[in-house]
Symmetry: C2
Subunit: 311 residues, 2 copies
């Protein structure tokens, strides 16, 4: 048997991402020992029941002691607190990384606490579902998804390569970019879509002219597609909004400007403007399918839904 | 062998909806003869190659002659022209229906042309995919979906029941409501989501700070979910926007107002407001799954995507 990539991996936070990591680490034999830590006693107990690791503690400092790789998977607003807490126990030569959806803010929060000799490499696997908690994870979550690193100046290339290899073994493809570009990119591909989805679901929920029952009943005609994103973890997304504020406000401004243009075309019956936009957007969909980032089954293959008894 | 529900059904328009109807009519044996008509020679030829009906013509008037049921499945902006064209050939006692996504406008366009003795019953099956054309249809499209009728005052109850039974045999559940309520309901559950999806994809496509390649590559983190709707038929959606203008503008106004509120909360760091909304929307998702209008597989079961060779 080949020896594992890391003697000991500490997972701080055991939600969707942390618990998916635990499962893929086990499956691929990437660690000799997996230490799991989370603040909540109930969540920790659940992780233990699921058998996700080798040791369990609510004390993050205890979990990271002697770990060769520490992965912080908590809402981005908690990154600073966690870094401060674990810093004194981090082993010299250890790799410290995170999985947060914003990078400039996480770096600002964590870096000041990182001790000399610890390799801090901020990371972000672009993977997730609308579910959360230790039960929601699965080993295949990262397969064919991108993991983006935003290494700081002077990052040790060996440590970066080691962490890259770890994520590749988890199934991910690796990219690197600077934190500002990451935050701008994620604002458009992830943060704005989630905010818009939350918003439209809220708007529908508030209507008096159309009942909630009707919204639910007829949701397959479009609305449904937004509700998956709008079911994502509220704490995580509150933190993302607060910690990537500038890029998100920039994207929201552009989106609203474009929507005003579209609204005006609708009001004044300018069919050509509408047709032009509606044609252009079709091409984007095709590119996404060609890039293997979605499947082409019509309606997401939802025909597979079993038909409940007719009313 | 039991006799079919209708001796002759005429399908005017053979796109996604028309060709799905052709397929389910065949499967369920609902017609003795299916006459297919479409303006485009190329589309008609394709329908013939696919063997969707029993007779084919670009002359809608010829197709509807002697038909007991005529189903108009064209972009809503063409409803008036089609009604005017076919009116002289409609058989006394025939049922005339449509499948348009807006109802008040379709009624205003078609009703003036409907001859005495023809049962005009406006209808709208809430079913579709992002694909269009005769190849895109499939017999299961209407299974467990809603078909909404907006019957006019004085509609013959027997004709309505006969048409309802037809749609039930196609797999759909039946609802009736008045045209104005239909248009308001669809504005929120279908039209606004499509417009928002088109808009966000347009915004992303226009960015200079993030490349198109990056948007495509990282789309699985949220953006992707919008691109399916934004790949829908441009002609159909241009017409929907132009023909349900008032209800759509009302919903757009509410959406924008709510978005401004959310944007302000982000700007001023009001995490509680964000958390409240993000929590409330989660419940809507649960209701949709309980109502059988979506599947609960995380990430839409997209883990089933085959992994292309790693780059």
């Amino acid at each position: 048997m080949t020896s594992p990539m890391f003697e000991k991996i500490a997972l701080v936070g055991i939600g969707l991402i942390g618990s998916s990591l635990a499962r893929v680490i086990r499956r691929e034999g990437l660690a000799g020992h997996v230490a799991i830590s989370t603040r909540s006693e109930a969540t920790l107990k659940r992780a233990e029941t699921l058998g996700l690791g080798d040791s369990y503690t609510t004390d993050a400092r205890e979990a990271v002691r002697d770990a060769d790789l520490v992965i912080v998977s908590v809402p981005v607003g908690s990154s600073g607190t966690v870094a401060e807490e674990i810093a004194p126990a981090l082993k010299k030569g250890a790799i410290l990384t995170d999985v947060g959806s914003t990078k400039a803010s996480v770096i600002a929060q964590m870096q000041p606490h990182v001790p000399e000799g610890v390799h801090f490499i901020p990371g972000h696997p672009l993977a997730g579902t609308e579910k959360s908690g230790p039960d929601a994870g699965f080993a295949e979550l990262f397969a064919n998804r991108w993991c983006i690193f935003t290494p700081l100046p002077g990052t040790d290339p060996d440590a970066l390569e080691r962490l890259s290899e770890f994520w590749r073994r988890c199934g991910a493809n690796i990219d690197t970019m600077d934190p500002q570009h990451h935050d701008m990119t994620l604002a458009i591909v992830s943060h704005l879509p989630h905010i818009i989805a939350y918003n439209i679901v809220g708007t529908a929920d508030d209507l008096e002219s159309v009942t909630k029952t009707e919204v639910i009943k007829y949701s397959a005609s479009g609305f449904r597609d937004f509700t998956r994103l709008a079911a994502s973890d509220p704490t995580m997304w509150r933190d993302v909004c607060l910690h990537n504020k500038d890029a998100i406000l920039e994207m929201l401004a552009r989106f609203s400007e474009d929507l005003a243009f579209l609204q005006r075309a609708i009001r004044w019956g300018d069919g050509d403007k509408l047709f032009d936009l509606f044609t252009r957007t079709r091409a984007v969909r095709r590119s996404i399918i060609e890039a293997g980032q979605d499947i082409d089954a019509p309606d997401f293959g939802r025909q597979a839904v079993e038909h409940p008894a007719k009313g």
